[in-house]
């Protein structure tokens, strides 16, 4: 009798739908510049994410901003970037493999209607990074590095 009750409780808890918890997202904006020097230089903040930068064809990396965001499922967040871009983030919940599904758009700031330079869907695994590279700005390019705790 007791085991039947325990079995039912376990099965119902396994079959029950789960509400997506808020997503903690870390967003870093990095300015990547190509200089004549053959040696790569990273500022103090960029040196902590060398794994996301050291294969890029640039010499100097500077952290423009480091934001910790909390995203609610199905609620769009807009983040102005340092360069002439606006970032839109739409967290769509966690997929069956446990990864956060994040719709990311980079728009040209001031364009009407808004023109999307890139729109992508990232499946972010815990403790892993993803990045968007090649966003031109006055000096070098902008690299966006996304990571989850």
């Amino acid at each position: 009798m007791v085991s039947s009750v325990v079995l039912c409780v376990l099965l119902s808890s396994l079959c029950a739908g789960k509400d997506a918890p808020d997503l903690s997202l870390r967003l870093r904006e990095v300015e990547a510049v190509k200089e004549d020097s053959s040696e790569k230089t990273y500022d103090r903040d960029c040196s902590t994410i060398k794994d996301a930068l050291d294969d890029l064809p640039f010499n100097r990396f500077s952290m423009l901003s480091d934001k910790k965001l909390t995203l609610t499922a199905d609620k769009e967040s807009r983040v102005p970037l340092a360069a002439a871009y606006v970032l839109s983030l739409n967290y769509e919940g966690v997929d069956e493999s446990g990864r956060a599904r994040l719709q990311v758009g980079v728009e040209l700031a001031g364009s009407a209607p808004a023109k999307k330079v890139v729109e992508t869907v990232l499946l972010l695994a815990p403790n892993k990074k993803a990045r968007i590279c090649g966003l031109r700005q006055d000096k070098g390019e902008l690299v966006l590095v996304f990571s989850t705790p």
Binding site: A52, L108, K116, V118, T120, A125, K128, I132, R136
Partner: protein, 145 residues
């Protein structure tokens, strides 16, 4: 055989069935006589066994019947229950393992899709050697932005 007969005679004398004057005087007989006397003495100090009166016999027997009819949680029954509970536990754990296998975490980040609305912009995706998923935008050098 002779010794046994001799001890029976000694016991009969102490019980008063034979005259005490004919008690043998050898040390072995004296030791046995002393043993029997001590046994008698201690037996007399024991309480008398309770006697169930006729009027109490019905209640006494009904009590016995109640005791017989009551279910007894025997060791065998306990073992059966324990085995059944263990089997149920194993079943539950097995189901838990089977059902939770679907939620096994994938530890890789992935770029599911990417598009652009700008002409001349191309996008490619790849993972670098450290497993960082990358969306690489190639923008032509013009004043579109």
């Amino acid at each position: 055989m002779i010794k046994r007969w001799k001890f029976q005679k000694i016991a009969a004398r102490i019980d008063g069935e034979l005259p005490l004057s004919s008690m043998p005087s050898d040390p072995e007989s004296q030791r046995y006589a002393h043993f029997v006397e001590t046994l008698h003495k201690h037996a007399q100090t024991l309480p008398e066994a309770p006697v169930i009166a006729d009027e109490s016999m019905t209640a006494f027997l009904s009590g016995i019947h109640e005791g017989l009819d009551a279910p007894v949680l025997s060791t065998g029954r306990l073992w059966t229950m324990g085995s059944a509970l263990t089997a149920a536990l194993i079943l539950v754990l097995s189901l838990l393992v089977i059902f939770s296998r679907g939620d096994e975490k994938v530890r890789a980040t992935e770029v599911e899709s990417c598009t652009t609305e700008l002409d001349g912009v191309t996008i490619k995706t790849f993972d670098n050697r450290d497993g960082v998923s990358t969306v690489w935008v190639t923008m032509p050098e013009n004043d579109l932005w």
